[in-house]
């Protein structure tokens, strides 16, 4: 009984958070739109469906590219005992933190003028990490012997991979694909920069209609279409996941990772190539930050550290970095608390009410699939009803960031919690541990590793968050992404140098933060996704 009450309370907190800071604002803004005329008109317009087709098409293509590029890296991370694996893990995380505007510009200069291919590649660039970490997490824990059995039955390495390993990985691949698809389907900056005036997606169109035209009915119609697409993608992911989380047995990584041999080196080669390609835009940013019209220069960096930045931004680059670190910390902490609560509830619910758990799981993911603009404008028409009129309050920044981070935390922690043998908890209970104590003594330490991974990854996402932050951050305390956007929107060489230097600073901060977080070792191996 008391367990049920505790579960109820545990579920209520994250759900209440979602309702207040997500569902309510979104519903309010959609409600405003749906009250107007023009919804039907937008839905009847064939252009709308072209838009839908392009949005889904580019997202599907991007997801496919991310999968193809991410799987070799997942293999490298999960199965190959080679030096530098940790470094690869770090490198694939870097893209996640880069502002989409800057990445868009980097791809624009690398690939000529953008276009569909550039959009797809840039979207994929962001999401290789999602695939590599999600799939790698499961792969590292798959029993090698199923493959061995297939090999002995006459399957070549490749055939064994496609006929045995790939199906076994399907849940993780489905899960990664769903998340990546969400990111790509709601991709904004990339499509804007690389799409020029030609390519538009639901997201850019919703932005345009909401922000420029104040066409709320049109925006609401498109948002509903987007929501439907997102729910569809989530359903696919959920179905794919359903099989897995039971089948998991924790295996030690030493049993599964080995030195590659023969054809396996080719895959390692592909993985290294992909990592190299991921680094290309990164390097181009570094180079850009160091070059001026008149040759190499550290001017951007020195200006960022000094008064030049202060006069444009009100703060120095270091202050902006500090602001970033601090807000991201708050957001990550909040997201961890909420996400872990949700994950615990979900892991417990599943034994009893599978459907309910799946529904809740899906609801938790929705924030990834709804426009930041929709949420932001929703805040405007709702948050004044809360005590203290939160509409202009900087506390909304970590709240909004947490909205994006929380689903990721759930995705990473949940599989591990589900993989913990329930009998371990029962043993603890029989030794006198109350349910709460069981959680502290068993679940927490065992999920610790993935919790750390979630912390690292969530922190990166919060560091890189721009949409909500630019909307809500206090002007005298810009975060690095906000600072970058301000700097890049001004003429003058020094401003541009400072913008690129800020990007490099952001990458460094990210790498250091993630490396530190992931360095902390807890007894068990990571089984988490991402």
């Amino acid at each position: 009984m008391r367990v049920k009450v505790a579960l109820g309370v545990g579920a209520a907190v994250p759900l209440l958070f979602l309702v207040v800071f997500f569902a309510w604002p979104v519903a309010a803004i959609l409600g405003l739109g749906l009250r107007g005329t023009g919804v039907g008109q937008v839905l009847a317009d064939p252009q709308t469906w072209d838009l839908v087709a392009f949005t889904l098409g580019q997202a599907a293509a991007s997801t496919a590219v991310a999968l193809v590029a991410g799987l070799p890296i997942a293999y490298l991370l999960a199965r190959c005992a080679v030096r530098g694996r940790g470094l690869v893990r770090l490198i694939v995380t870097i893209p996640f933190v880069l502002p989409t505007l800057v990445v868009g510009m980097a791809f624009r200069s690398l690939l000529g003028d953008g276009g569909v291919i550039a959009i797809v590649l840039a979207n994929a660039f962001f999401n290789v990490a999602v695939v590599a970490r999600t799939v790698g997490g499961l792969w590292a824990n798959l029993d090698r012997r199923a493959e061995d059995a297939a090999r002995a039955l006459g399957a070549s390495r490749w055939r064994a991979f496609t006929s045995v390993t790939l199906p076994a990985l399907a849940p993780a691949i489905g899960s990664a694909a769903a998340v990546a698809f969400l990111f790509c389907a709601t991709s904004f900056g990339v499509v804007l920069v690389l799409g020029g005036a030609e390519h538009r997606t639901l997201e850019t169109e919703i932005y345009l209609r909401t922000v420029q035209l104040l066409d709320l009915p049109g925006a609401a119609a498109l948002s509903l279409v987007q929501l439907a697409a997102v729910v569809g993608a989530l359903l696919v992911g959920a179905v794919a996941r359903r099989k897995r989380e039971t089948a998991l047995t924790l295996r030690r990584r030493t049993e599964t990772a080995r030195r590659p041999e023969g054809g396996e080196w080719a895959v390692v080669g592909v993985a290294v190539t992909v990592v190299g390609l991921l680094l290309l835009p990164v390097f181009s940013l570094v180079v850009r930050s160091l070059s001026t019209r008149d040759g190499w220069s550290l001017a951007g960096y020195t200006a960022l550290a000094g008064d030049a930045a202060r006069s444009t931004l009100g703060v120095s680059g270091m202050d902006a970095a500090t602001n970033s670190l601090r807000t991201a910390f708050d957001a990550t902490l909040l997201a961890l608390v909420l996400g872990v609560l949700a994950a615990v509830v979900l892991s417990q619910l599943r034994r009893r009410q599978g459907r309910l758990a799946e529904a809740m799981d899906m609801v938790l993911m929705l924030p990834l699939g709804v426009s930041a603009v929709t949420v932001g404008f929703g805040y405007l028409v709702t948050m004044d009803a809360l005590p203290g009129d939160l509409r202009s309050s900087p506390v909304l920044v970590p709240f909004a960031q947490a909205l994006v981070v929380m689903p990721l935390v759930v995705r990473m922690v949940l599989p591990v919690l589900r993989a913990i043998d329930d009998r371990l908890r029962q043993a603890a209970a029989s030794l006198g541990a109350s349910p709460l104590r069981v959680w502290r003594e068993v679940d927490l330490p065992l999920a610790g590793r993935s919790l750390l991974a979630a912390t690292g990854f969530g922190y990166v996402v919060a560091l890189g968050e721009f949409g909500a932050t630019s909307f809500l951050a206090k002007p005298d305390a810009p975060t690095l992404p906000v600072a970058i956007s301000r700097l890049i929107s001004r003429p003058g060489e020094l401003n541009v140098q400072m913008a690129y230097a800020s990007c490099v600073l952001l990458m460094i901060v990210t790498v250091v933060a993630v490396a530190l977080i992931e360095r902390v070792r807890v007894g068990t191996e990571a089984l988490g996704e991402f």
Binding site: A427, S430, L431, G432, A433, R437, P445, L446, T524
Partner: protein, 335 residues
């Protein structure tokens, strides 16, 4: 007083995994719960531990109903087939776990841990990581962990079945001694009759959720309640017979049947009931032979008709037609 189950029934959905079980375990007694896979042994154990809710009936300890008492307040120790040691704690940390939960101070924790590691034959193993232990060692640590807080009742769910054959036999003996020495009251689930007999004072036989027989190992072995129990306990062939004057007579001959009431009886024959013997009364054709470690097991068609199993020494030279004698130790009586 100890444990008493009254009319205990546990449902999974609409299926009754345990139905109407009546049973009691006295203080200091070790009872083995024996039965085929899926018959509800674990469920019964879990219901006693408080991990499964009874649909009806009661579990009581020393007369007090345990219905409202949660797992962690029952004070029953639990050991699983595969130990389920906490992987993030070392051996001492595992053994001390229950003591910590009960607020025992560090000094006494350390003493008790040392005492228990001694008891299970792993002195000085405290600082080892559990992943570095062999399966048998892990099981012994699990046992020490369960014993540490001096549980009123120890619940063991196939404590040995994950182990190697040799180790399992060894550990069964050790465990039997250890339970006696610790004066533990225990309920042991197993599907290995040798293990049940080694460990327990009393054996309870389960089938399809119901208790079909309880008794001492010898009673159960010699006098199974019905043909199915007999088959479960290794009787491969059942023949009809009649008891008179303390002897049972059947088509295979006559054997002493002490304590069996006069009248019709069914005889359950184990492989050891028929042994090769040059002076034997029975003859038969050897259809098949497989080596066991210390004997050869034969499939024989007796000239009188039935196909039965028989044993021969490893050294025996067998002709295709061989003589056999009945060994009363290999025969069970079903009345």
């Amino acid at each position: 007083m100890g444990l008493r189950l009254k009319d205990l029934t546990v449902h999974y959905g609409s299926v009754a995994a345990v139905s109407d079980v009546e049973m009691s375990i006295e203080d200091g007694e070790v009872v083995a719960l024996l039965g085929p896979s899926g018959c509800g042994k674990s469920t019964l154990l879990r219901a006693v531990a408080g991990l499964e809710r009874a649909s009806s009936g009661t579990v009581s300890w020393d007369g007090a109903d345990l219905a409202g008492v949660p797992v962690h307040r029952r004070g029953f120790g639990l050991v699983f087939q595969d130990g389920q040691l906490f992987p993030h704690r070392d051996v001492a940390g595992n053994v001390a776990f229950g003591l910590r939960m009960h607020g025992v101070d560090r000094k006494h924790q350390a003493e008790r841990v040392a005492e228990l590691l001694e008891l299970v034959g792993l002195p000085g193993y405290g600082a080892r990581r559990t992943t570095e232990l062999s399966g048998g060692e892990q099981q012994r640590v699990a046992l020490a962990r369960a014993l540490a807080p001096r549980p009123k009742l120890l619940l063991l769910d196939e404590p040995l079945s994950a182990l190697d054959r040799a180790l399992r036999e060894q550990l069964a003996m050790d465990l039997a001694v250890l339970l006696r020495r610790a004066g533990a009251t225990a309920l042991v689930v197993t599907h290995d009759h040798d293990e049940a007999f080694t460990l327990a004072d009393r054996v309870a036989l389960m089938r399809k959720g119901k208790l079909v027989q309880t008794g001492t190992p010898a009673e159960v072995w010699r006098r199974p309640a019905d043909a199915e129990v007999a088959a479960f306990l290794g009787c491969t062939v059942i023949v009809d017979g009649v008891v008179a004057d303390g002897r049972a007579t059947s088509s295979l001959g006559s054997v002493p049947a002490p304590g069996v009431v006069d009248g019709p009886v069914r005889l359950g024959l184990r492989a050891s009931a028929l042994r090769t013997d040059p002076a034997g009364q029975l003859t038969g054709e050897v259809l098949q032979r497989v080596h066991r470690s210390d004997h050869v097991r034969l499939l024989v068609r007796l000239d009188t008709g039935p196909e039965v199993e028989a044993t021969a020494p490893v050294t025996a030279a067998l002709t295709s037609h061989t003589r056999f004698t009945l060994d009363p130790d290999g025969i069970a009586f079903i009345t």
